[in-house]
Symmetry: C2
Subunit: 129 residues, 2 copies
Amino acid sequence: MGKTMTIGKLASAVGISVETIRFYQRQGLVTQPKKPLNGFRQYHFDTIERLKFIINAKSLGFTLNEISTLDNLSSGCKLFHDLANTKLESIKNEISHLHNIEQNIKVLIDSCSSDCKADDCSIAEKMYS
Amino acid sequence: MGKTMTIGKLASAVGISVETIRFYQRQGLVTQPKKPLNGFRQYHFDTIERLKFIINAKSLGFTLNEISTLDNLSSGCKLFHDLANTKLESIKNEISHLHNIEQNIKVLIDSCSSDCKADDCSIAEKMYS
DNA sequence: GTTGACTTAGTACATAGGTACGGAGTTTAT
DNA sequence: ATAAACTCCGTACCTATGTACTAAGTCAAC
């Protein structure tokens, strides 16, 4: 018998909730161990690493769907490289989109004093056009 | 009789779907005119402006909930100024969050060649920790 | 040997912003 | 006058990521 644990221990070992682990199981991101006689499933130590991988990938902006296509890195990192480059592009796009919005909001904010009649407010002029 | 139109004309006037206008009505963002005898509601011309306001606000990153608290600009633009400043802050935060992610992904991408064995891959080292 | 903490499975709920569908009535164009 | 296009209302569905809850069974501690 190696290092195994129940789902609760696993959850606190990686700092997420039991419900979240179950959810990842339903999504196919984590495999569910077989049910033993007493009914309490035993999770292998490796599952901690798998969950950490998922958590790290999420923090890098990967969706659960994307993570599920990665499976893991044990067969080399080419897949990861490719997905990471794609993600990098989409993040750059998001950033420039947000920069645009930022600029537009700044222009609006600066375009009139902080409280004016609607009739001569250039914010109104811009927002209703 | 002033300028009124059915929902379909309204929708094509502002370039969104009928379903979306109905959705905005359900959300309380647009008021629904009374039902006349023939059953086909007539929308006032002003509703075009209201919808344009909503569409513009959305493109500035405001949520429908936020837009509903704005109501409109006819009572001065102070409310709008305040919300816009708050939104500007949150957009700046989002941008810096994305910049962080961008940096982290770049580091990962550069940290190993594009295809290596899992054992000596520094990506794996970082993703499983 | 009882109390409290834990696990099981399944299902419902939540957010945000819509999209899609169905059947019945109405209007418009030819 | 008839067919196509439009409108009405209500409801269900969609993505993404979980959270909450129930009822029943089990384990561990004192």
